[in-house]
């Protein structure tokens, strides 16, 4: 690799610093704005602190409307947690089955999986609404948890990973020792695929935390909403009522972003490996 020296090194460094500022300044603004009282928010410069008002803002956020925000956070954690756990189990089993066994219909299943990558999400939303209304899933928490458990991309990821991580010789050895196929999967396959499991869980957990259109269509009652939909409702109400919710939206944005950033930073190696598998194959 060519390592630039002298002037060009400084050019590189300058551009990197500018890019880093572009990335960070809006987040810095959010952090600063969350510490301001309502009057300071409008009267002081956005990029530096005024009177430190963060604790009062947090208090206001968590007590507003009998603590509905806590409810939204909890819902988000439940939907993301249950959905991701279910998906991980389903995808690991399916990916392992597809990778390690040959049977009639395997090619067809792979065809379905690859083909489903071509279905745009917006095609499904209206018919899914009709389906859920008919089978009684509309406006239930299951509308948020169940559909995400059968993501074909996760199965694909698990299959690619199983091909590389689970040696067939090891499975044969277990068979000689008298282990059944399900036992082999549970005690050998699933364990060897723990990295894939963490990746699948993490990617879906994050996607589920961020999901917006799905709850917008499928959940009516505010007590079932996840946090992103709740924030949208505050943004909407803040602009057409006399009561200003801007401060609440800002503090809530900070509170619902911090867990994601911490999670993503601490689990970098999982989601980055997942993306590499996805983009290479």
């Amino acid at each position: 690799m060519a390592e630039a020296r002298g002037t060009s090194r400084w050019v590189v460094l300058t551009v990197l610093v500018l890019l880093a500022m572009y990335a960070v300044v809006p987040l810095w603004w959010l952090l600063v704005a969350a510490t301001k009282s309502r009057s300071d928010l409008y009267s002081t410069s956005g990029l530096w602190f005024a009177d430190f008002n963060l604790w009062q803002n947090l208090g206001a956020l968590f007590t507003y409307q009998d603590g509905i925000f806590t409810r939204w956070l909890w819902n988000t954690v439940v939907y993301a947690g249950l959905g991701s756990s279910g998906l991980t189990v389903v995808a690991l089993a399916a990916g392992y089955g597809l990778a390690k066994y040959s049977y009639r219909g395997r090619g067809f299943t792979m065809g379905l999986i690859i083909g489903s990558f071509l279905i745009p999400g917006s095609l499904l939303i209206v018919p899914t609404f009709l389906l859920f209304s008919r089978i009684g899933l509309y406006d239930t928490i299951w509308a948020m948890i169940l559909p995400g458990m059968f993501g074909s991309f996760s199965v694909y990821l698990a299959k690619v990973y199983a091909e590389g991580a689970v040696p067939s010789e090891l499975m044969d050895a277990a068979r000689i020792d008298g282990a059944g196929e399900y036992r082999i999967f549970l005690s050998i396959g699933a364990r060897l695929m723990s990295t894939a499991a963490a990746t699948i869980f993490l990617l879906h957990f994050v996607a589920s935390w961020n999901t917006f259109m799905w709850p917008l269509v499928f959940l009516k009652g505010a007590e079932k909403w996840p946090v992103m939909l709740g924030l949208y409702s505050w943004l909407q109400r803040g602009t057409d009522s006399q009561y200003d919710l801007t401060g609440l939206v800002i503090t809530a944005s900070l509170v619902s972003t911090v867990p994601m950033v911490l999670l993503m930073i601490s689990m970098q190696r999982y989601w980055r490996s997942g993306l590499t598998i996805g983009s290479l194959k």
């Binding site: 890019l19 809006p26 987040l27 603004w29 066994y101 018919p127 609404f129 059968f150 074909s152 590499t276």
Partner: protein, 325 residues
């Protein structure tokens, strides 16, 4: 020819080697079939869920779009009749100027914003490739921060940045004597585009940079010996090398952009004069289905949008892979 006579554990050994002709064959074959069936059964939970939550809705989309639901009584008090109308909904959709207005909007936006984002990411990735590896690593987490922020929150943050009341951007441009309204019809696509760029730039750049690092060094040496400069090496060797991942990520972002929904909907909460309720195709589908209540028409529009997305992907894929061959 392996002749495994003992039953039990020993029989398994012969399996992998193929014991054709041995007296145990039928039993082994049956055992293998059972094995394969058990393996296949591991995919059943997925297949059941996939059938219910993906295949059934796709079939329903095709079915619902050829029917129409009409209220028979006045003011919605009467019953509803569902009649087969063939391709009427599609004919209506193909002639709907509002729907195609939205389609044109997202198409033009996608054709401008996506290549621009990719080019900028590529330029930054090439630049980063020229930096020391350690320098790049130091900036990694910071540049990835926007990618970690939930999309809705990113939109909210930028809505506030653009806001004349609380955001710093209006003040910043006023210093240069510019009175900009980021919510106005002229600037709203720039505002949305900048938001998308903010979310994607650092991430794309690091993905491309990773791809660049897998280019074999010997090629550079050979090119240098032949008298190629660094710029020439970048354009003629590095760029073709990452072309595959560039095409893939462009394709994915164009597919996403054609279905744009969340960002304009949040903008609409702040600036309903600029962002109409049918601003993008996905917004119009949402509006037809859940505000107007015409689910049949909304489904037909969804199918049309899916076809447009498919055609656009095919065209881009064809036109970019032709040059490669």
């Amino acid at each position: 020819m392996p002749t495994t006579t003992s039953a039990g554990p020993g029989a398994g050994r012969a399996m992998g080697k193929g014991a054709a002709g041995s007296p145990r064959t039928p039993r082994l074959r049956r055992r293998r079939t059972v094995q394969a069936l058990k393996g296949a059964s591991l995919t059943f939970p997925f297949l059941v869920g996939f059938a219910l939550f993906v295949m059934v809705p796709v079939v329903m989309a095709l079915r619902e779009s050829v029917f129409a639901t009409r209220s028979t009584g006045g003011l919605g008090f009467g019953g509803q009749t569902v009649t087969f109308v063939g391709l009427d909904n599609f004919a209506k959709g193909f002639q709907d100027p509002v729907f195609w207005g939205g389609m044109l909007r997202v198409l033009v936006y996608a054709l401008v914003a996506v290549p621009l984002t990719q080019l900028l990411s590529l330029a930054c990735a090439l630049l980063l490739d020229a930096a020391r590896r350690r320098t790049a690593a130091r900036f990694r987490v910071v540049l990835l921060l926007p990618y970690m922020v939930p999309g809705i929150i990113a939109t909210l943050i930028w809505l506030f940045q653009y806001s004349p009341a609380v955001g710093p951007l209006s003040d910043l441009f006023r210093i240069f004597g510019l009175e900009l309204n980021f919510y106005s019809g002229d600037l709203v696509w720039v505002s949305i585009g900048n938001m998308a760029l903010w979310g994607a730039l650092g991430f794309n750049m690091l993905i491309l940079n990773g791809a660049l690092q897998s280019v074999p060094h010997e090629i550079f040496e050979a090119a240098r010996l032949d008298g190629a400069g660094e710029l020439r090496i970048a354009v003629s060797i590095k760029v073709p090398f990452v072309r595959g991942s560039l095409v893939l990520t462009s394709l994915l972002s164009i597919i996403g952009t054609l279905q744009l929904f969340n960002e304009p909907l949040l903008f609409r909460a702040v600036t309903p004069e600029t962002i109409t309720k049918d601003f993008t195709p996905a917004m119009m589908i949402y509006n037809q289905a859940f505000q107007v209540g015409d689910l049949n028409y909304a489904t037909a529009l969804s199918v049309i949008l899916a076809v447009v997305v498919g055609v656009a992907s095919a065209v881009i894929y064809r036109s970019t892979s032709r040059g490669q061959a």
